[in-house]
Symmetry: D2
Subunit: 136 residues, 4 copies
Amino acid sequence: MQATDYDIPGDFRHWDGDAAEDHIGPFFYRPVAGGIETAFRPRPHNCNSSGAVHGGVLMTFIDYTLCVAAVAGTDERVVTVSCNSEFIAAARPGALLIGRGEVIRRTGSLVFTRGTIEADGETVLTASAVVKRIRR
Amino acid sequence: MQATDYDIPGDFRHWDGDAAEDHIGPFFYRPVAGGIETAFRPRPHNCNSSGAVHGGVLMTFIDYTLCVAAVAGTDERVVTVSCNSEFIAAARPGALLIGRGEVIRRTGSLVFTRGTIEADGETVLTASAVVKRIRR
Amino acid sequence: MQATDYDIPGDFRHWDGDAAEDHIGPFFYRPVAGGIETAFRPRPHNCNSSGAVHGGVLMTFIDYTLCVAAVAGTDERVVTVSCNSEFIAAARPGALLIGRGEVIRRTGSLVFTRGTIEADGETVLTASAVVKRIRR
Amino acid sequence: MQATDYDIPGDFRHWDGDAAEDHIGPFFYRPVAGGIETAFRPRPHNCNSSGAVHGGVLMTFIDYTLCVAAVAGTDERVVTVSCNSEFIAAARPGALLIGRGEVIRRTGSLVFTRGTIEADGETVLTASAVVKRIRR
């Protein structure tokens, strides 16, 4: 999948193999200083009965964002233990949503993360997640 | 949409008009003593790269469950203010997911809710949400 | 410390050795079917400027409750990873606060817990916590 | 109460009238660019059986921090609706704890806040809270 097909800058990359994320998204990511940035262009089928992007869709996007941040470019696998979201403002379909994920601390078994989603520069969601590192 | 088309008992009803919930779900609900029960039969396109139902899909389903519980059969409109989820166990596609939502307290402006998702009788997610009542 | 000195039923027991819990509480516990019950009789020095029991005091009491539930009568040690609380109603000093803690799931490294605090039979707080088991 | 009596820089101020905060703290605050900074010097009676500052004490301090941030120097009154905390690392008695609170958005009825606690420059807690504005 190509970011530019969704009107997302071409340096955002796709992570193949997650059917749910492609079905709801697709979502894209790029490394930035201090963490990760993700991108998503929601469409009408992502919206609730008020015409705003559904809270569940936003939570899926931030879960993706925080897991990508936790993995941090390695091939480590992680699972989300808990995810808390606050819905700050409504996001509209067609807007470019940018997620930002930050690792607060990585312990031997857990990663503490925090993030935001912005729509056209306005914060629409804040979240934190505790992520478990899966040892192989 | 008919619950029975998704191998869900026929007394579960569908709430029309939410494109995202139909795209990710569909989800169904029925009133029960003390709250609401919801149902969802996840499919492969709802799954992550490990073949388990994606956390974002589960959060979408519990958000639906808690909002249906908050609305409680009225035509009131609500928006989610915050939603906290713990991922207790993996859910597999094909399993019958049953959500349960409970209203802890309804104030003039907010509804405090709590819920669970079970897959074949095992708890896979616990959540709480604060929901805002929209006055018309 | 004796529960009866704080007008708490005498079958509630004290857990010695936690200075902060004694300074803010004291708190007491007893096993019940399906989990743990805790008790606390807040006093004026536990209250905020509105004369209600301070939210931080309630969070301390629920953290105690959920850790006692997680430990479940063993000598295992645990630390709280995350704790989410919703403030349902105000609690007044002098009321008998009863905490209830429930273990949703115990994995090899984590315990998922959930609980409530009631004041004179009314729910004043709901909470969930993820607790880490400390291996010795 | 004077910050300097607790080995806290003298430009931190005290907010009088909250018995619980003085009993657990005292806590101090000062305005900074983009929000609020708070200070607390924990003592042995604030610690758990492991000798670390008790999680409930940290949650009380962050609740204070986020409410001070929400009030933002006005005489508005607020109550906490929900408060989510992640315990990132242990804090030791005697360390200077610095809280930081940030208002993400202020609506007509709610304030969305987020914050951290650092001990000697290391993050020990992250939190978010939804706070309700009390109309007089």
